[in-house]
Symmetry: C2
Subunit: 244 residues, 2 copies
DNA sequence: CGGGGAATTGACGCTGTTCAATACTGGTGG
DNA sequence: CCACCAGTATTGAACAGCGTCAATTCCCCG
């Protein structure tokens, strides 16, 4: 009982480019199935060469790298609409692992068909390059945050970015949204220790800037949080992007 | 007096995929000229939408972001064979600025032709996605380095990565290579202060691990430097990649 | 009732920042 | 030819942001 692309709940979101009929019918062929996983499941492993590519449909996850001594760097958060496995599809292997944080369901594509995508559907190929460029752009921002911002600004930046991203997906109710990660995940994304992340979150809570507890994130004023994070709201707002 | 793609000195390098005759003839049409700039010249500006895309032919440069208070984060180093402007070509605007560190000459492409590239030359389109994926992969590594490594390991990682990269371009003579950057550039790439970068470089010099002075970098033993950097040599070695 | 994962909080100190002074270089104008 | 200057590299000293260690609490689950 899989979701038909015609009825895809993501397509209608304003944060994605509208899809032409031709593209839609191509996607229906391209999609070969669905993957449903429980929380904690590894979806892709760093260094592996998966035969399958995915687009997240429901649920949220993490992209991360593990270092020699077990240090973990979270590279990005996976949300509905995200394409997963581009590196495996285009290069030899993945540069990071992907893991489900909540229960997830993902559209499954056949890696071998990726090449026919580029040949027969150049627009979709262009879109894939777009996605890669957006990801590159984000990682540059993350690098800036980790390299050049204080702990308070860093945490503010991350929370605001997550909040706005979830907002564009239509998941924010009022001024709060479900954020099903652990403090350790955020710490590993920002290059901070768990303890200091916790204390920084407490400070933001005290200052009424952002409240994240029991898996829900509330942001009273995006503008104030942006001020603390030291970013302008529009440089943090993701562009409308293709859905694949 | 521009360089003809037939005679392109980069194409022969083993670090680039060989180019078919068809690809070669396409590149000759795609290339519309050359840009020659002096050291310090801005090539692309963050947030701008350049009508032109480039491939570095000679010389070296920097990709970087500037924050609100003038903080700078170097996002990558530009070397011969690097494609510059992908983000501008595929998204609305560049996510970072690009500047020439030395004198540079770059092949110039017309941004409007990018779309015909995807349509008429799917292999080249695929290659562009590949390049974007490689860049994404690198930024993930950089994020890991900045987020999770000590200053000594970080500097070692960067020097080793630069060294190996230049080595694959055939620029290393003996065990040393020209590295025309300032310590400030390296500091801004690694999220360190200039002072501490300087002291860390001095330590590596004392320990005979890496010597970088007067614009030349010498590495006696890649293995030892890799040990200090806490990486394996092959995870730091760039893949053979397409040249565009 | 017991156990394990996550969040929280305090104490302590190391790693890296900031401030500041010095030296060295090539370039410029008198 | 030399004084002067700006940019870069180097080094020392004081300080602080953040990491590490450790203890406690809360909560879910068996």
């Amino acid at each position: 009982m899989t979701v038909d692309c015609d009825a895809c709940p993501l397509r209608k979101r304003a944060c994605f480019d509208p899809m032409s009929d031709a593209e839609l019918s191509f996607m229906k062929k391209f999609k070969v199935g669905e993957l449903v996983v429980e929380p904690g499941t590894q979806i892709l492993l760093e260094g592996s060469n998966s035969p399958q590519l995915f687009t997240a449909l429901h649920g949220m996850g993490l992209r991360y790298k593990i270092g020699e001594q077990g240090a973990r760097q979270v590279v990005n958060f996976v949300m509905p609409g995200d394409f997963v496995g581009l590196q495996a599809g285009v290069m030899k292997e993945m540069g990071h692992s992907v893991e489900a944080t909540t229960a997830m369901t993902l559209c499954v594509f056949d890696r071998k068909e990726l090449w026919t995508l580029f040949r027969n559907n150049p627009e979709r190929g262009f879109d894939l390059a777009w996605l890669a460029a957006v990801e590159e752009n984000f990682l540059g921002d993350a690098l800036f945050a980790v390299g050049r911002r204080s702990a308070t600004a860093r945490v503010s930046w991350a929370l605001l970015r997550l909040f706005i991203r979830l907002s564009s997906l239509g998941l924010v109710r009022g001024n709060s949204v479900r954020l099903p990660y652990k403090q350790q995940d955020l710490a590993d994304a920002l290059g901070l220790s768990l303890v200091h992340t916790n204390k920084t979150l407490a400070k933001l809570r005290d200052r009424q800037l952002a409240q994240w507890s029991d898996g829900r994130l509330s942001v009273a004023s995006r503008e104030e949080l942006a001020t603390v994070a030291n970013v302008s709201l529009d440089e943090i707002t993701p562009p409308v992007r293709p859905l694949i």
